[in-house]
Symmetry: C2
Subunit: 580 residues, 2 copies
């Protein structure tokens, strides 16, 4: 391919709204252009990367026995009303009306449509299992689209949906998808990790996320370097850091702690380790009928509450932080001096596993400017409800018992999910089993963010010059840079011959025929991230030599012109083999 046919559109400056490196580089390298907030044009080189990603996904999905089809972008509200998602989903679901004032939506995902298809087309257990997938444009009306295409509004997703006879079948289908995802991200040459995920609002019984590891990732991942354990911070289990509770050794006492409203300040003021303090957080769950419910949540002074875990405390699904007035009413003290001793009897006290095993601890006294010391469960206050409600921290024991955890950051690019019968029961998606009895199909769903993968790969691979693509995703495998394509017959002939030879050998090659100055040309291809570069000029051709350089090589090598084609092919093959 010629560069003149690729519409190169590199920029010196990144747009002012680009917060992350992948967004900056995608615009600067001419892969994307913003049309409106979270909505992008894909320029030719960007589209080429998308097609490579799609092809890898398609090949592995087909190999896993999944069947590709295509469901509409515009879907009728009726189906989404059957599952209740029409009402339940927030404004990120873009609802529209057609000319006849009928309700439609733009698909953010396709559970309803595929379940409708399955209930119409699948009658018998003989037709199961089946796994349908599509690669199709989605739209989610994000409140604050950002990070370029990583949190855009219009994006491309591969979504797959498995239908099984029973839970055992689902587990098999799920494992097949898990394995396919592993192959997909491996073939893309990405450093990634499968992590246990929170099930979130989709519901269902088990799920894992695939994260591309990158310092700039939105998600924190808790993992064990000595084992396979990995979980999203939202979902990572935290064990008690104290194996069992010691006996009380001191009496409880109220001490003045003027203006010390957080555990760090209290510990410093009292000259005790922060690990002896307890943080108290008051939540309110409003009730439709009757008075609101109060919850006091306790984590150790140096720990943080995990809001996803907290939302799963019975009764707390829809809770909120208590207001100043509510705090005053329940504790008779301002925020900063709350504690479980003497809190209103209406409040449910929930202690994190670690807090539950603490003795002689320090907490707020429910009295402005005072804390209690030497507090002990059972003696000074009733035993609490004990639950895992804190965020994991570096050095925590791994939940699988195989060492201690570390935390890294990741970008979610895939999600596999055991849905169960949530959609099939709501929509009457049943099959006749061997006894002729109608049974709900057992479903799984499996997503990959196609366009997001471009951003994630760049967050993982870049340097000061620009993008460092894995070769399987790069917009080209090698670029030929002529020194004077128009000026020198010899250079033009050598470049054209190499270009045609590589093309014939199945190499994805671009010949830069733009007649740019060498500096600008090299900068462009560093920015775009061509994995290999060949420079051909009159000076080298005197000795029949050309320059060859890998994207991250410090120096280029001189290669005889007669060997350069084989050299390029070998280098690409070696790089590809190192991936898979």
């Amino acid at each position: 391919m010629k560069a003149s046919q690729s519409f190169l559109a590199t920029l010196k400056e990144a747009p002012s709204d680009a917060e992350v490196v992948s967004h900056k580089l995608m615009v600067r390298a001419g892969l994307i252009r913003k049309l409106s907030a979270g909505v992008y044009n894909y320029l030719p080189l960007g589209l080429k990367v998308i097609r490579k990603v799609e092809n890898i996904i398609r090949e592995e999905m087909n190999r896993a026995g999944a069947i590709e089809l295509l469901m509409p972008m515009i879907q009728p509200a009726e189906l989404w009303q059957e599952t209740g998602r029409w009402e339940k989903m927030g404004p990120e679901l873009l609802r529209i009306k057609d000319r006849h004032d009928r309700d439609f939506l733009i698909q953010p995902t396709s559970e309803e449509v595929v379940t409708d298809l399955a209930r119409n087309e699948i009658k018998s257990y003989k037709q199961l299992p089946v796994n349908f997938y599509q690669i199709q444009t989605k739209f989610r009306d994000e409140r604050r689209p950002r990070f370029g295409i990583m949190r855009g509004r219009e994006f491309s997703m591969k979504d797959a949906y498995s239908f099984d006879r029973d839970t055992e079948g689902l587990k098999k289908s799920y494992q097949i998808m898990f394995d396919a995802y592993t192959r997909i991200f491996k073939r893309m040459g990405l450093q990634f990790r499968a992590v246990t995920a929170d099930n979130g609002a989709i519901g269902g019984s088990g799920s894992q996320e695939f994260h591309v590891i990158a310092d700039t990732g939105e998600d924190a991942i808790v993992y064990c370097p000595d084992s396979d354990y990995a979980a999203n911070l939202e979902a990572a289990e935290s064990l008690a850091l104290i194996a069992s509770r010691a006996a009380a050794s001191v009496a409880m006492a109220k001490v003045p702690t003027p203006d010390k409203t957080n555990c760090a300040d209290v510990a410093k003021f009292l000259n005790i380790p922060i690990e002896s303090t307890v943080k108290s957080l008051l939540f309110v769950a409003d009730q439709e009928n009757g008075p609101a419910k109060l919850f006091m949540l306790l984590v150790r002074g140096d720990h943080e509450l995990n809001e996803v875990k907290a939302s799963k405390i019975p009764g707390m699904a829809e809770s909120r932080f208590a207001s100043e007035a509510e705090i005053k009413l329940a504790c008779n003290a301002p925020a900063g001096y709350l504690g479980p001793v003497g809190v209103s009897a209406d409040a449910t006290v929930v202690a994190d596993r670690t807090v539950a095993n603490m003795a002689d601890f320090v907490c707020g006294a429910n009295d402005a400017g005072h804390h209690l010391t030497g507090v002990n469960w059972g003696r000074d206050l009733p035993e609490p409800l004990v639950l895992d409600i804190r965020n994991a921290v570096v050095g925590d024991p791994s939940p699988d018992g195989k060492g201690v955890v570390d935390i890294c950051r990741g970008i979610e690019v895939g999600h596999v999910f055991q849905l169960g019968t949530r959609y099939s029961e709501a929509m009457g998606c049943t099959y006749l089993d061997q006894q002729g009895k109608a049974q709900p199909m057992v479903m799984g769903c499996y997503g990959i963010g196609v366009t997001r993968l471009l951003g994630a790969a760049i967050e993982q691979g870049h340097d000061e010059k620009g993008i460092i693509w894995p070769i399987s995703m790069a917009p080209c495998e090698v670029v030929i840079c002529p020194m004077g394509y128009e000026k020198s017959e010899a250079v033009k002939a050598a470049c054209d011959q190499l270009h045609d030879g590589l093309l014939a050998a199945g190499v994805d090659v671009i010949l830069d025929d733009r007649n740019e100055r060498p500096g600008a040309m090299f900068a462009d291809w560093g920015l775009i991230g061509a994995p290999f570069r060949v420079v051909i000029g009159d000076r080298g051709l005197v000795d029949s030599q050309v320059e060859f350089k890998g994207r991250t090589d410090a120096e280029s090598q001189n290669i005889p012109l007669t060997q350069i084609k084989e050299k390029v092919i070998a280098a690409i093959q070696t790089t590809k083999q190192s991936i898979v």
Copy 2:
């Protein structure tokens, strides 16, 4: 590929809302399923045909030097307000609001977005010409979606946009696209014709449509069997059928014609040929300021008014038929007895070219129950405005003077269009010419209805059994039908070996491993339209014989098992070569 991996979903009955054969067959063959009016799921076999169509289009567009990119489905209103189309377009433009109440639309086409891209990215004459294209989902909120995917609401279109320095450049770009389209439809194996089109509401200076010829087509195409002439009936020029006007030979007379309100009845009643009568139609063009304008349009009694041509009469762009009251006021007679003699002086009388050369003609007398005979221009009424305003009819002289025209029906599948500077001027899409002066880019646009092509191909190719695909579009090239795949080891082995061998040779083969009864299996593949079928059963294998049959062959042939692979490959190749 195995049939069990293709999700075959054939049906005995067509849906009740299917009016045309392609819609019926696409549903019955399991290519599509309706989700809502004009919105369809593409099942695996349907998607496969789409991909084949897309690939042919993509290859030929790339070969023609066009550059693929991808523009968003959801586009901001602002750009469409710049060109005025936000206001001008009717309710077929689906307008939506996002969560922040900002106006967006779902693209029915992408002139605005691509022009915005060009004005941002293209600065210099050195970057021109360029031709951008995309293959992308479109949405048009048709008032009455019908004919399955042929007039659906959500559909896939290839849209290309060329940008040139000047009109001369545009003409070259246009011709390149015209040639590419010709190759595309040839490679698809379709019978088609390029026809002169009306420019319609897009504006611009010249356009042609590509029609697939089919009796069930929505459009009438006027063509000359003896030359290249072809035009959409809307745009086909009609010459005068009378070379010059004869002298008046009789006096004008008013004759009673009771209850004879159309030309056919009048001619019969007066015992004269219908070719001596003139039909008068009264139109009103309302004016924003001042009284409405009246137009009386005259065509020969056996001719029909061409409304597209009529809308181009100066002042008639927004006209309508006159009401009974307006007719009464202008002509003092009810509809059926109107005529140009004595019509209100406010009315502009427009005669079709043929009518203008008639002498001694018969028309309404502007008196209920009466017509005038022996009417002559100049003597009995003033000379009219003479224009081509009628529909062409079979036997008319061809406008290119090379014979007479015939009329066939066609389905529009492509459109090439010289837009000129309409969009670039409205949006300030300019480039700097060699003198450093800003000039508007000169644009062309070029569409192909990707999904509609499936319907058009089926309208052209089908029989009582089902679809007859051109081989380049078929969901498979050959199907292997085993007689007892599960029951006979020998059959299974022979089928698997042939399947694998054909696959390795690059043949698009499906092995029907569903264990259906032979009758049902053959019916399915006739319906789906596999171009070739191989039947392998124990009976034939006794003599190492298998059955081979083309989709439209009356009889199958017996072929030695050892030769069947080469036979299939040769048959496919011969068929493909007969196309291109």
